[in-house]
């Protein structure tokens, strides 16, 4: 009974470095495939994918699943799953290999793998480490810093109870700073921003604060900042167009941005629905820029609850547990069984066909990972 309710991860898109994506055979996977299980008892609870490798964060299951039916709403479902006892393991797959114990969070980029690890010794604060991906997590990290214990405490109090950190990387515990893959690695944030979540695009950054307001800064030449111009912003600037509308989530793609509110989805950046590539494999040389947030409608009036962006594509999970994807599809990262790009949200039929309920999604630059549970059959 407990096994039926257990979810698992699926992946599709680019796997040219042999990163775990279902079968992992060939360069790309165009339809969702179940991930090969890393270990028997270990349960992958989050995925951070860079272009050439993926970092899987897993935990030992700490206790039995509570009796009774699982809640259908994805948010409730995650908190219903038992909180794991402690930190778990990070496993790398693709151009970078290796594993490390005692990790609470991991964030993958081509130049850096950032992990938040348990402190060494009892009572010690957690340690933030930045590793070269090729180091296989052996030897010494490029950079390490102890997390202030107060910051850690704050984090745990705000947690959603699902074991994942309330403020995931690249936002650092305490929300006073974040990690960047480019030098300088450690970047302070003004405390008055009260950041809850931070997402990094190729040239820009998005910040979601405690009140649900969105800030953006960085390069703006593709309209990804949402302030209505193509100018860059050196400092976090409030997204006035969404002021007063509390947002639940933000996601930053290569050159576009997506925000999820309680009522729906809005996106800004090249093309209202994200960037698309043309047949030649290059971004279409004539893309209409969308520098203000625009409300995106999902088919059948579905409500978005989670969103994640890749380099040039977007994936969204709805309240009903469906997955919609759109944007650049050349490497199968949209999961529709082909390599066609799409300008509008399309449902990934695989999950519907297999009676799977999508719960969470995490996009790498050219691929997509989805966590789904089996639906209760009536």
């Amino acid at each position: 009974m407990a096994e039926e309710r257990r979810g698992s991860w699926f992946g599709f898109g680019f796997c040219g470095f042999g990163q775990a994506l279902g079968s992992g055979r060939g360069r790309q996977v165009t339809s969702p495939e179940p991930l090969r299980a890393a270990g028997t008892d270990a349960e992958v609870c989050s995925v951070s994918a860079s272009w050439s490798y993926t970092a899987f964060l897993s935990r030992e299951r700490s206790g039995p699943i509570p009796p009774g039916p699982a809640p259908t709403c994805p948010r409730l479902l995650l908190s219903w799953l038992p909180a794991p006892a402690g930190a778990g393991q990070v496993q790398l797959s693709g151009s970078a290999r290796g594993a490390a114990e005692g990790c609470r969070d991991a964030w993958a980029s081509e130049t850096l793998l950032v992990v938040l690890r348990d402190g060494r010794g009892p009572g010690a604060g957690a340690e933030l480490q930045a590793w070269a991906p090729g180091s296989a997590l052996c030897g010494e990290p490029l950079w390490a810093q102890t997390v202030v214990p107060e910051a850690q405490r704050e984090d745990r109090e705000d947690g959603e109870g699902d074991g994942t950190r309330a403020r995931p990387l690249p936002l650092l515990p305490g929300a006073r700073a974040y990690v960047s893959p480019l030098s300088p690695l450690y970047r302070p944030l003004a405390p008055e921003l009260r950041a809850r979540r931070l997402e990094l695009g190729t040239e820009h950054a998005l910040l979601l604060d405690e009140a649900g307001q969105v800030y953006s800064w960085g390069g703006g030449r593709h309209g990804q900042l949402g302030h209505g111009t193509l100018e860059a912003e050196p400092e976090p600037r409030l997204l006035e167009a969404l002021q007063g509308l509390p947002m639940a989530e933000v996601a930053a793609g290569g050159w576009h941005s997506v925000c999820v509110s309680a009522t729906g989805l809005s996106g800004h950046g090249p093309g209202v629905t994200g960037t698309t590539g043309d047949e030649g494999g290059a971004p279409a040389s004539c893309i209409a820029l969308q520098p203000f947030p625009a409300l995106l409608d999902l088919p059948l009036g579905s409500d978005a609850v989670k969103a994640s962006c890749g380099s040039r594509h977007t994936a969204v999970v709805t309240r009903a547990g469906e997955l919609y994807t759109w944007g650049w599809g050349k490497y199968g990262q949209l999961g529709h069984g082909d390599t066609t790009s799409r300008d509008w949200p399309c449902r990934v039929e695989y999950f519907v066909d297999k009676q799977l309920q999508a719960v969470a999604v995490s996009c790498g630059p050219w691929n997509t990972y989805v966590y789904a549970v089996q639906r209760e059959t009536s």
Binding site: S95, P133, T202, E203, T229, L230, A282, K330
Partner: protein
């Protein structure tokens, strides 16, 4: 049209492969790029893999790997400001274009395959950086030769195509230049005279007779350009002017550009503007010269950039300033140019944004009322003259707030506005100084 012959298989595909292979080193160990640490380890892995696959003859796998390299390096090329893009990423892009071009030509194919390979090669030339002794230029030359040998030669001396006669005339009404102050004209002045009276005091002048002997004056026509450069890919600006919202840049072959924006009653304006065409297509560079006056500049000869402008009637470049000294040679057609001296900059309303900082907001229709003392001239082919524009000069530019102008200081040059009245317009511009 010559397009029909493209359907047939070109003769001698063996020689093509031999000629291309001869450009590459014999062993895969020798085909290597020296790249900095900025290029990710993962990319180096793929580059090695692609090279290995190519030398092992595993063509389709090599194409898959190079495709990923092309797409990834393309994203790097599109990150941030172009001039800040690490040159190594452009080299990676060029290398990937090279391997893809080679793979496409490996198996015997028709002219369409070779044209596709040439397109890839051109992308490497346009967006990448020179590698392995500028190998892409050599590849392009070989592919071009093979494509040309399959075509019928151009018929007789240059005739105006019937299509041009149908092209719309008089997009912009050309003002009468007689009443305005005209730029002075001189016939082949000595270098010293030019320097003393025009270069040093930074005054515009038209130099006549300087380019009369350039081969382009006799050879260039639409047919000739199509023959020499028809299948080469070039950047084209689409839209009336670059300050318009619907202005964009596209890549297309020269044949496509001519067919769509010059002949056949074009629906919108397309302009091959400010492109270093002669670096990309050395066959055309042989038809032009570099004016002796360019040697009077401070910079090295390598710093001279030569751009081409090629377009239909009605193309307009809005009032703007160039950071460099310029020589403009008009080869075919007529162009109207209006210059404003730096003292008049205050009245010229530049845009506030960073991108358009050197461009005025004022269009040609407003200039007669608002702007003082323009110095215009009308250039036409008979003269084969050289127009010299002054440039970098410490001058007041400005930042404009609504309704008000307030000067700031920054280096700038004189402003010029150009529009084309004739049916066909080919000019070349040399920029000898920074």
């Amino acid at each position: 049209m010559a397009e029909d012959s493209n359907r047939d298989t070109l003769p001698g595909m063996g020689p093509l492969q031999e000629a291309l292979r001869a450009l590459l080193p014999r062993t895969k160990e020798e085909l290597k790029l020296d790249l900095s640490e900025n290029v990710h380890r993962s990319v180096l892995i793929l580059l090695q893999q692609a090279t290995n696959l190519f030398y092992e003859g595993r063509r389709s796998e090599c194409l898959q790997t190079t495709e990923a390299l092309l797409d990834y390096s393309w994203e790097k090329l599109n990150t941030g400001v172009w001039r800040d893009v690490d040159k190594d990423w452009r080299r990676v892009y060029s290398f990937s274009c090279l391997l893809k071009t080679m793979c496409l030509c490996e198996t015997p194919g028709d002219a369409t395959t070779v044209a596709a390979a040439l397109k890839v090669c051109d992308m490497g030339l346009l967006m990448g950086a020179a590698i392995l002794g500028d190998i892409l230029s050599k590849v392009a030359a070989i592919l071009q030769t093979h494509l040309l040998s399959g075509k019928r030669p151009a018929q007789g001396p240059a005739q105006e195509q019937p299509g041009i006669k149908k092209a719309r005339n008089g997009h912009t009404s050309i003002p009468d230049t007689r009443s305005e102050e005209a730029v002075p004209r001189l016939h082949c002045p000595s270098l010293q005279y030019f320097r003393k009276h025009y270069l040093v005091p930074q005054r515009p002048v038209i130099l006549e007779g300087v380019a009369d002997h350039w081969p382009c004056m006799k050879k260039w026509s639409l047919e000739y350009i199509q023959e020499i450069a028809g299948c080469r890919t070039v950047p084209v600006e689409v839209g009336s002017r670059y300050t318009d919202e619907d202005w964009s840049q596209r890549l297309m072959t020269v044949n496509e550009f001519i067919s769509r924006y010059i002949l056949n009653e074009p629906k919108d304006i397309g302009y091959l503007a400010q492109h270093q065409l002669f670096d990309q297509i050395p066959e055309l560079k042989q038809d032009i010269g570099v004016p002796d006056y360019c040697c009077l500049g401070d910079g090295e000869e390598e710093e001279i950039t030569i751009n081409a402008w090629f377009g239909p009637p009605g193309t307009v470049s809005p009032l703007h300033q160039d950071p460099q000294q310029n020589f403009l040679v008009q080869v075919l057609g007529r162009k109207y140019i209006r210059l404003y001296s730096p003292q008049e900059s205050e009245a010229l309303y530049p845009h506030d944004t960073h991108l358009l900082h050197n461009t005025s907001q004022v269009g040609p229709s407003m200039t007669f009322q608002l702007l003082p003392h323009p110095t215009p001239f009308l250039e036409s082919r008979q003269m084969a003259s050289l127009a010299f524009f002054r440039s970098t000069w410490r001058i007041l530019t400005w930042r404009s707030s609504p309704g008000l102008l307030r000067p700031h200081s920054c280096p700038a040059s004189c402003l010029l506005e150009k529009s084309c009245s004739s049916r066909l317009n080919i000019g070349i511009m040399c920029k000898p100084w920074t």
